[in-house]
Amino acid sequence: MADVVDKVEPVVSVRDLRTYFIHKAEEVRAVDGIDLDVYRGQIVCIVGESGSGKSMTALSLMRLVPKPRGKIVSGKIMFHGVDIMQLSEAEMTKLRGNEISMIFQEPMTALNPVLTIGDQIAEVLVHHRRVGKRETTAKAVEMLQFVGVPRAEQVLREYPHQLSGGMRQRVMIAMAMICEPKVLIADEPTTALDVTIQTQVLQLMRKMRDDFGTSIILITHDLGVVADMADQVIVMYAGQVVESANADALFEEPLHPYTIALLKSVPTIDQETEVLYYIPGSVPDATEFPTGCRFADRCPLAMASCFETAPEVREVRPGHLVRCHLVD
């Protein structure tokens, strides 16, 4: 697996990304200072619970934060050495779906119900490649076959509601991959699918990485999916990265109390536990974060200093970053 990963220069490099939602006097700090490096052929998982800002991070990378309230207030998003924050909207449009693609959680609602599958796949090629109609169709059929859609030629003429959930997600992947982008962002791609279908889709995504060398940013709340897929893991909590490490290292020895608690609170089919570990309380309100560590009032190991000063991210071991006062 590791041989596909080329660690020379990151394909995507994010520094201090902040995306806020501003409505009247309220400021929701959805993403509050994210750093991220993705190398060629790497699968990076961003994991967190609802409200952690993981989906908004993904949309920020595409510069698709919902307007007018959402706004990227600061940060640098380098894609192949170009800061995409500096690009014009037209230049960004050329990048989307071509160099960076995205797939979403609900394949049911993410496809346009009144356009045929063929139309929806073809328009990507039409706008990015300017190829003829016959070539477009051939390419679309080829891609659908590649992602495992049976009767591809017929499916091109069908509408999304005629397909099953698993098939729709395959179509989404085909559509995202048709220009062979360098980066694929997948926002909870299997959450709406049944487990047996999830297995199929995850396998397909791995195949995409292996065959095209695509880097994948996989956003999920499911630690099982992370363990299955990730090369690199980023754990988010309340808009910030709390831990970032190589997947093996993270599952071997998680360091942030939140990561540890999260891993312990998931029931598994491999071990028996009488009482599940749980994290008391709930995620703080994104309009008024505490001055100290954002996890402090739920943390079993919190010290006085945790409530006073916010911890910085520190490289505790080579490549293992943690935002916690306890690990120095």
Binding site: E49, Q200, G224, V226, A247, L263, V266, P267, V275, I279
Partner: protein, 322 residues
């Protein structure tokens, strides 16, 4: 203790498919097709399966909010399907339900006090005034504060709402609680809180559970026995240990192999099923699973296997183990 609380026999729910000018019934969606099982006092039965397998429809029929097409539901010796009106109301308090969506299952216009006390009041157990101390106690039982009873659902988080839903279900001291995907909408850390609460309430209130979920790990945590459903049928029914250690039905094997564990050490051999679940309006002949089964035989395409005991506490519906 192994006394039977609930016995379900040949339960069916067919939804007619109507078509054409005269709304003629041209076929049926067999949402639940010939489901039978027993539940003992104090036991938890987990029902697992993928979307559309009929697990939620089964739960709703048990709750008597959906009329079965055929079959018997014997609860505590009484056939529920024969009861109507007052008689039904009298037994109804013995079985309650916890829902999936904590945002939709509480009336947004009622205070928590009114929500939790309503079952008591409508069953004539106490008046609205008298119910206050009971509500306070119930709130404390599920880990909320006494003063929360004056507040309204919109002021609570998802996990807290689910606690309120549980308090409401408990208010009548039921013998059975059907939990339909009760933790699926919650974040992992909150999910663990609710699961723990349900486990502790079970012994405290002598409850039996039917726990419906698509999550095999969650079901394993809480259940004593597991029923696997596929296209309206139970394909495997076994005790927890039997099921998780020796699954016999090819579908169960595939399902279990698909469960992802948050660990890099456990690497299971994946059985990747091809294709999708067939349309329940047009189910395949023979075994419902034969279109996706990696071990399919000629017989599977012709006759539907019935659920039968393979050994004590383990039955499956599969020709492989005939």
């Amino acid at each position: 203790m192994a006394e039977v609380l609930l016995e379900v026999e040949g339960l069916k729910k067919y939804f007619p498919i109507q078509s054409g000018l005269l709304r003629r019934t041209v076929g049926h969606v067999k949402a639940v097709d010939d489901v039978s099982f027993q539940l003992n006092y104090g036991e938890t039965l987990g029902i697992v399966g993928e979307s559309g397998c009929g697990k939620s429809t089964t739960g709703r029929m048990l709750m008597r909010v959906m009329e079965p097409t055929a079959g018997r539901i014997v609860f505590d010796g009484q056939d529920l399907t024969k009861l109507r009106g007052k008689q039904l109301k009298a037994v109804r308090r013995n079985f309650q339900m916890v829902f999936q969506d904590p945002y939709a299952s509480l009336n947004p216009r009622m205070s928590i006090q009114d929500i939790i006390s309503e079952p008591l009041v409508v069953n004539g157990i106490v008046t609205a005034k008298q119910s206050e101390p009971i509500v306070v106690q119930l709130l404390e039982t599920v880990g909320l504060r006494a003063r929360d009873r004056f507040r309204y659902p919109h002021e609570f988080s998802g996990g807290q709402r689910q606690r309120i839903g549980i308090a409401r279900a408990l208010s009548l001291h039921p013998k059975l609680i059907v939990a339909d995907e009760a933790v699926s909408a919650l974040d992992v850390s909150i999910q663990a809180q609710i699961l723990n609460l349900m486990v502790s309430l079970k012994s405290e209130f002598n409850l039996s559970y039917i726990f419906i979920s698509h999550n095999l790990a969650v079901v394993k945590h809480i259940s004593d026995r597991i029923a696997v459903m596929y296209l309206g049928h139970i394909v495997e029914l076994a005790t927890k240990d039997e099921f998780y250690n020796h699954p016999l039905h090819p579908y169960s094997e595939a399902l279990l192999s698909s469960v992802l564990t948050p660990s890099r050490k456990v690497r299971r051999e994946r059985i990747i099923l091809t294709g999708d679940v067939p349309n329940p309006a047009n189910p395949p002949r023979g075994c419902p699973f034969h279109t996706r089964c990696p071990k399919v035989m000629q017989e599977c395409r012709v006759t539907r296997p019935v659920l039968r005991d393979i050994r004590a506490g383990h039955s499956i519906a599969c020709h492989l183990h005939a």
